[in-house]
Symmetry: C2
Subunit: 203 residues, 2 copies
């Protein structure tokens, strides 16, 4: 059994992460998803405890005080946090945990020293990103403009990531991510214990 | 287009590399294979220019003199060499080149600084490796013993490799290697040019 690790996926708004996550979980039963805490309001289709744990600002700040997050941040005026207990427990069990966080959060994960793979899901072009945000229609025009501005800034963080997956066709991007996870399981550094056993059994 | 790179696959004798290579090429049309030079005699089913370039010791040593190999070595009393021109040309064209070489050769490739991914194909157990070598029946008993001894030594080189692929079921090992190649195409370091263009197009 290879060691557990985090798979951190970030992308500028409208990158298509939601569809992608659902598809990955459909095929990969051995991956678990870390549900984040947030103070933002749920969108119509979002479910408490599945998409996010929706909490009040007071509840969130209490959890911060209790050091219950490996990282937390304010994005678009709302708080988002990643629960520590869930992640540490599952890494210790050898599991792979998918984390869907923004560039600031990813940087904090990197700094906290957990074993993690960083994937940046990028749009094939700027025009395509605009088109996708417009199509979503869950935000008003001002919100879309804010997200585009933010995407510009976020793309500049690409150096923090191990992999760039271009979201041209969603089916291809999913295949890329599934392959990255499978490849990462084969990493020598995650299988040292096993190979040492094989070698020591020899002599 | 991501940058070209080498995929170096090594394994102790009897690791099942031949089947594996054939299967990979069946599915991945954009990968090319670097055919090595050797002074050993062809096995019954082996084809000149496909499996190896079979040459005499004199021809081989002449190519060494002309620096036509990125690496060469003596294994089991025979010479093996990897042609330089073919590799450099194809990396420059953005291609992926599969190289099937032993641990000594892999270390030399590592030292020569070409962009390369190192995969070590390992048997699931020592007993299984013995069983596979016995089954092959292309070598005599002394040869098999020599190969087993050598495998013991080779396994100790595992730290030179980025990935360990366990050859339990060949179909699974092939899937692992195909995924490693696909994942490596997504590496940030191989796509810097593309992402820089995307970002510069924005501002």
């Amino acid at each position: 059994m290879s060691k557990g690790f985090l798979v951190v996926i970030s992308s500028p708004s409208g990158g298509g992460k939601t569809t992608l996550k659902e598809e990955i979980f459909k095929y990969e039963r051995d991956i678990c998803y870390s549900v984040s805490y947030t103070t933002r309001l749920p969108r119509q289709e979002e479910v408490q405890g599945k998409d996010y744990y929706f909490v009040s600002r007071e509840e969130f700040l209490q959890l911060v005080k209790e050091k219950k997050f490996v990282e937390w941040a304010e994005v678009h005026g709302n708080f988002y946090g990643t629960p520590r207990d869930f992640i540490e427990e599952n890494i210790n069990k050898g599991r792979i945990i998918l984390l869907d966080i923004d560039v600031q959060g990813a940087r904090k994960i990197k700094e906290c020293g957990l074993s993690a793979v960083f994937i940046f899901l990028v749009p094939p072009s700027w025009e395509e990103l605009e088109r996708r945000l417009m199509k979503r229609k869950t935000e008003n025009e001002l919100e879309i403009k804010k997200r585009l501005e933010r995407a510009k800034e976020e793309l500049k963080f690409y150096r923090d990531y191990d992999y760039l997956v271009v979201n041209r066709l969603i089916a291809e991007a999913i295949q890329d991510i599934r392959c990255i996870i499978r490849a990462e399981k084969c990493r020598r550094s995650r299988n040292e214990k096993w190979i040492k056993q094989l070698i020591s059994g020899l002599s």
